[in-house]
């Protein structure tokens, strides 16, 4: 092969509509990606970023996934789509070899049929009948590039989040694409994992240096970053495209767009303030403006709670260590003589490093986990022996993955679930609507299928289902993760309104800035107990 400088990708999408839907998911979107450059597409949750990325990379195809009007141009090839059956059909294998896409859920990239990281990497090459010796070389080279060399013999199912993300990127990079599209590559990674991905992106596109075209390997990859945060990585991009409601509202150099109204309106995080490393804090820092907690009887009390994994046999679904049997490992004490009292209307934030047991603590509050020592009291009564489903009447717990918590056909039915037995039809719907309004849903959203909401909205809907029961205690597990700016504002409003009504709120977060801005008290979980920060 001759030395290739790289191929540009240009897309002009007039409208793309999924089959079975009447409104286009994308309209009037124009994107162009130059080789060796870093481009960022910024937009809030549900703005159409992923749809755009998948369309550009041939993951979603005209005619196959929906109806497309517009054109795609890759190098010298230009394809025009008019939404007719005789439109050109993209060959996904060939197109994706040149324009690769890495989804936000890195596990979706994996074939699920290969036993080791090395074989997973080689999967795409096998399908193209690359000779074995070439495959060995390519696997070795790509692994070295993505920091997977030490993991080549591991089972992909046992990788950590950061390792999995790197494997997904490596699976795309091994084909040496001209363009690489990364969908939220930093989502739910810890600081170390995020830094590795950032370095990888920089090395791929040669960004960071102003030259940006061509690295020693001779191939310059154009990287497109899809993100809902104008974070460190996005700020290194040469060009920004702002996506809002499926259409481009602004495009240009980051310096021009930072702080612009369009970026603000799109719900992009970190749109205004300039911040350092790490996840962008949820909202602008400000002193707590909530009314101080009242002094009534405490809705939630934990007294001398202790807990170790390996002792609780009620659920086998409790965290496991990479599939190893826990019983054979040293029993790990997660909570130890832990005391916590939350007064009505008080907001407590619990922080701590990954694996400190924050989620374990939350699961004790509604009885999903039972303490091995001590007692959990809700509204003055011990919940020992009370089924989780019954505790749920006074304790609302919001999980990290809202999808597991949603199961009804419409947003309204979802929020009203379980209320009818207690309040009757009319009252149940009234309460459900009030809870939905509290998190910013309109009456037009009521008939939508929860699965068709954006990730941010799903989180809010899950919150509404919890709020509709007006629980005495509200427990939130990492509520800010995955929320765009609009979602964060609504979360903030809903939580403060609940606190104002006298609900005791416990939220667990790794985001110290958010904790400080929101809570009356910030506690750190360390060594199994809580201490003030």
């Amino acid at each position: 092969m001759t030395a290739v400088v790289g191929t540009a990708l240009r897309a002009r999408l007039d409208a793309f509509t999924f089959h079975g839907e009447n409104t286009p998911a994308l309209c009037d979107v124009a994107v162009s990606v130059l080789p060796g450059s870093l481009t960022a597409v910024l937009g809030g949750s549900g703005s159409g970023k992923s749809t755009l990325g998948k369309l550009l990379a041939g993951w979603l195809r005209a005619g196959h996934a929906g109806q497309l009007r517009g054109s795609l141009e890759l190098g010298a090839t230009r394809l025009n789509f008019r939404g007719l059956p005789e439109d050109p059909r993209i060959n996904p294998a060939e197109w994706s070899r040149r324009v690769a896409f890495v989804p936000q859920d890195a596990a979706a990239m994996l074939s699920t049929v290969r036993a080791t990281v090395a074989e997973e990497l080689a999967f795409g090459l096998e399908n193209r009948a690359v000779p074995r010796e070439d495959m060995f070389r390519a696997v070795e080279r790509t692994a070295a590039r993505t920091g997977l060399t030490g993991l080549l013999d591991r089972d992909p199912a046992t990788l950590s989040g950061g390792e999995l993300r790197r494997l997904a990127v490596a699976c795309a990079v091994i084909a040496e694409p001209d363009i690489l599209i990364l969908d939220e590559p930093l989502a739910s990674l810890d600081a170390a994992g995020a830094e590795q991905i950032r370095d990888l992106v920089r090395s791929l596109c040669g960004a960071g240096s102003s030259a940006g075209t061509g690295n020693p390997a001779g191939t310059a990859t154009g990287v497109v970053l899809l993100s809902q945060a104008a974070d460190t990585l996005a700020r290194e991009a040469a060009h920004w495209t702002v996506l809002d409601g499926g259409t481009v509202t602004a495009a240009g150099a980051p310096a021009q767009l930072i702080g612009s109204a369009e970026l603000e309106r799109a719900g992009v995080l970190g749109a205004a303030a300039v911040r350092g490393h790490g996840p962008v804090p949820a909202i602008a820092l400000r002193p707590a403006v909530y009314p101080p907690p009242s002094s009534g009887p405490a809705p939630l009390e934990l007294r001398g709670v202790g807990f170790s994994y390996g002792l609780d046999r009620r659920r086998w679904g409790a965290p496991r260590y990479r599939g190893h049997r826990l019983r054979e490992q040293a029993v790990r004490r997660v909570l130890q003589n832990l005391d916590l009292t939350v007064r009505p209307g008080e907001i407590i934030a619990v922080t701590g490093p990954n694996g400190a047991g924050k989620s374990t603590l939350l699961r004790h509050i509604n009885g999903l986990l039972r303490p091995s020592e001590g007692d959990v009291r809700v509204c003055g009564r011990s919940i020992a022996g009370v089924p989780v489903g019954t505790v749920a009447a006074s304790v609302g717990l919001l999980f990290q993955h809202p999808r597991d918590q949603l199961f009804e056909r419409t947003v309204l039915r979802e929020a009203a679930f379980g209320l009818r037995q207690h309040f009757g039809k009319a009252e149940a719907e009234y309460r459900a609507r009030a809870a939905l309004a509290a998190v910013g849903f309109t009456t037009a959203d009521e008939a939508v299928h929860p699965a068709e909401l954006s990730a941010s909205q799903q989180r809010l809907l899950a919150l509404a289902t919890v709020l509709a029961r007006e629980p005495a205690v509200l427990a939130l597990d990492e509520p800010t993760v995955g929320l765009d700016r609009r979602g964060l504002e609504r979360l903030d409003r809903a939580v403060s309104a609940a606190a104002a009504r006298g609900t005791a709120v416990v939220l667990v977060t790794h985001d110290l800035a958010y904790a400080r801005a929101t809570a009356h008290r910030v506690l750190e979980l360390d060594g199994g107990t809580l201490r003030d920060v």
């Binding site: 074939s111 036993a115 074989e119 009948a129 679904g317 999903l368 749920a392 009447a393 699965a451 029961r469």
Partner: protein, 257 residues
């Protein structure tokens, strides 16, 4: 096949051929002493290969109800039987009925043990690589391997969903309809999540060239010594002979019905 080292070095197709041929020959032979011998041999091999616990546990789940069912069915009700050993009302214990149960029961036991021995000792990645190398459509290997990967993941996910729903106040109780309703609510997020994952996996697979026609290569190499190839041919010939012999021997008996 005298020790586990040999079993470990068996090419997966040799193991598959051996297991399948043994099962077919046992069926064709229809002799309970042979069935028992095969079952015992399989059990011994399972112990030697260290898979005894899995094989026997899985076999017990299948065979215990089957044996009970056979004994009740043929032990007590066998209208064709002449030699009555005992009788309570309509139920007659006949020698022929017990013999029939013994015959069918041992045959099934032998086949189940042999096949389970194969599935719990074979290396699935090796088997898939071997199948792919023999032009079996890659889709077949995908379905087998992906199912085995998904099973434990889905079980974990279902548990997570159950926790999340209990947290929302779902208490599974009440009559049949209420239980079915609750069950549906557990299934919906599971099915939805699985289908969502599947549709992105389809896109990823197509992007990685899985759907492309044409030749493929294999990263994993499975050694296939010539001796084993000859062994496989021999086993297949032997099986064909056994089946032919059975058909020739039984044809008139079948034809007169």
């Amino acid at each position: 096949m005298t020790n586990d080292a040999v079993t470990a070095r068996l090419h997966p197709l040799t193991a598959l051929t051996a297991a399948a041929c043994t099962a077919v020959i046992t069926t064709a032979a229809a002799s309970w002493p042979l069935s028992i011998a095969v079952a015992l041999a399989a059990a011994v091999l399972a112990v030697r290969s260290g898979a005894a616990r899995q094989v026997l546990a899985a076999a017990a789940v299948i065979l215990v109800p089957l044996w009970l069912s056979l004994l009740v069915l043929h032990g007590l009700f066998f209208p064709e039987g002449h030699t009555v050993l005992a009788q309570w009302g309509p139920a007659r214990v006949t020698a022929e009925g017990l013999g029939f149960a013994l015959e069918v029961g041992t045959r099934t036991t032998a086949c189940v043990l042999v096949l389970l021995l194969f599935s719990f000792t074979v290396s699935v990645p090796d088997l898939l690589a071997a199948l792919a190398a023999r032009n079996i459509p890659p889709q077949f290997g995908f379905v087998v391997a992906s199912t085995l990967t998904l099973l434990p993941a889905v079980a974990r996910r279902l548990d997570r969903i159950r926790q999340a729903q209990e947290t929302r106040g779902m208490v599974v109780r009440g009559g049949l309809l209420a239980r079915l309703g609750a069950l549906r609510l557990q299934m919906v997020p599971l099915v939805l999540a699985l289908m969502d994952d599947a549709s992105s996996r389809a896109q990823a697979l197509e992007a990685r060239g899985f759907a492309s026609p044409g030749p493929r290569s294999s990263y994993r190499d499975v050694a296939d010594p010539p001796l084993q190839r000859r062994l496989r041919v021999a086993a297949l010939v032997l099986t064909a002979a056994a089946v032919t012999a059975r058909i020739v021997a039984s044809w008139p008996a079948g034809g007169t019905a």
